[in-house]
Every structure is written in C-alpha cells, then in structure tokens.
C-alpha cells in the first residue's frame, strides 16, 4: 500500500519537473520558441496564441499536481497534454515531408531527434496513466496517505 503512495508521489514529482522545466525553458527563450512554432506546418498559423498557451497550461498542470485536492485533475490533464504532444510528433514524423522542422521543445529536449522524443513522451504518457490508476485505486479503497493529506 505504502509502495503505491510512494509511486504516485514519484510520478507526480517527475511530471512536475517535466512541465516546469519545459515551460520555463520556453519562456526563457520565448523568441526562439515562437519562431520554431511559426515554422511548424500544423501550428504555424496559430503560433502567437500557442506560444503563450503551451507554457501557461504546463505551469497550471504542475500546480494541479502538487495540490492534493486537484491531483487527479493534474494527472488527467498530464495524460491529455502528453498524448496530444505525442500525436503531434507522430504526425510530424510520418506525414510531413520536411524532417528538418525544428522541434519547438525546450532545452535538452530540443537535442533529441523526433523519434527519441516520441519514446520520451510515451514514457510520460504511461507514467500519467499509471498515476491515474493508482490514484483511482486509492480513492476507491478510501486510502488516506500522509504525503498528499
């Protein structure tokens, strides 16, 4: 039982690190991020809005994940966002002729190739799904654990 609590906490903290890292990196290098988004064949037309929307939503999800009351919302939002990113990467990799389109991701994530990025994202999709499963198990069995109040 305790192992499940620890697992859930680790999953949430890893997702928090990922989202805060990705969001702040985009903000620190906002001009470049916006330019890269503008080159995207799928999001290019909406780059002005998307450039603000993505880091904002990432920070909001990070906060949801650390507030016990909203942890489930945070996990569901993480799953949706990471799945959307993965689908986007999959489309770019398979259906867009130019593979030299820059990845609009931040920092060290930018150094990954498109394929490596898909595997990286899938790992976090699985993490979020596992987190949801553990959280609903605890809710179903009314387990109150100290780390999340």
């Amino acid at each position: 039982m305790k192992t499940k609590n620890i697992l859930l906490e680790i999953i949430c903290l890893l997702l928090v690190v990922l989202f805060v890292y990705a969001a702040t990196n985009k903000m620190f290098d906002f001009v470049n991020f916006k330019r890269q988004l503008g080159e995207s064949p799928l999001l290019g037309d909406f780059s002005n809005v998307v450039a603000w929307f993505i880091p904002t939503i990432e920070i909001i999800i990070a906060f949801l994940l650390v507030i016990p009351k909203f942890k489930a919302w945070g996990l569901y939002a993480s799953l949706i966002l990471m799945s959307l990113f993965t689908i986007y990467l999959f489309i770019i990799l398979n259906f867009v002729p130019r593979e030299d389109i820059p990845c609009s991701c931040g920092g060290i994530l930018n150094k990954m190739g498109w394929k490596a990025h898909i595997y990286f994202n899938l790992f976090f999709v699985i993490m979020a799904a596992t987190g949801i499963k553990v959280h609903s198990y605890q809710k179903k069995h009314k387990i109150i654990y100290p780390t999340t109040g």
Binding site: V16, V17, D29, G106, I108, P146, T147
Partner: protein, 90 residues
C-alpha cells in the same frame, strides 16, 4: 514534521530544480555553418547564429577587408538548393 516536508518541501524542491535546470540549458541557437575558401583545401566550418529559415540577409564568413564567403547549412554547399544560411530576424 515529516509529512509537512513531503507536502511542501518536495514539490517546492521539484519546482526549484526544474527552474534551475531550465536556466542552465536554455536553447543554444548556434549551429555550424560551412563555407569554401578556395585558398584552403577542403571545406571550412564556422559557428553561427544564422539559420536556413532566417529571413534576413545572407550570412557570410568575412575574412579581412576583401574576402567573404557564403555560409551554408551543410557541407554540400551550393550543390543543393536552398542551402544558404540567412540572418534570423526575431
């Protein structure tokens, strides 16, 4: 006490860690540009902030007052189309 650390300390640490890591790994926009100086055998390289997708002037490697060479994205230089690096205008 332990519970308080786990509730507040760990998330705070995660936030701080991510922000610090992020500040140290902000995107490096420099890339390697390629040019051919006929006075030197082979193709030379030069680190540059120019890009293929730049919308400004063509990027040149300037050597002294009279010599300048076009920078290209790959070592295939002008043998392929649209390989010239251009200044990125934010």
């Amino acid at each position: 006490m332990k519970s308080k650390f786990l509730k507040i300390g760990l998330p705070l640490f995660a936030f701080m860690f991510a922000i610090l890591l992020s500040s140290f790994t902000v995107n490096d926009v420099t890339i390697t540009g390629y040019y051919d100086n006929p006075n030197i055998t082979g193709i030379e390289t030069q680190e540059t902030e120019c890009a293929l997708t730049g919308t400004g002037a063509l990027c040149l490697k300037v050597i002294g007052p009279f010599e300048s060479y076009q920078l290209y994205a790959t070592d295939e230089l002008d043998t392929i189309e649209d390989n010239e690096l251009k200044v990125v205008i934010p």
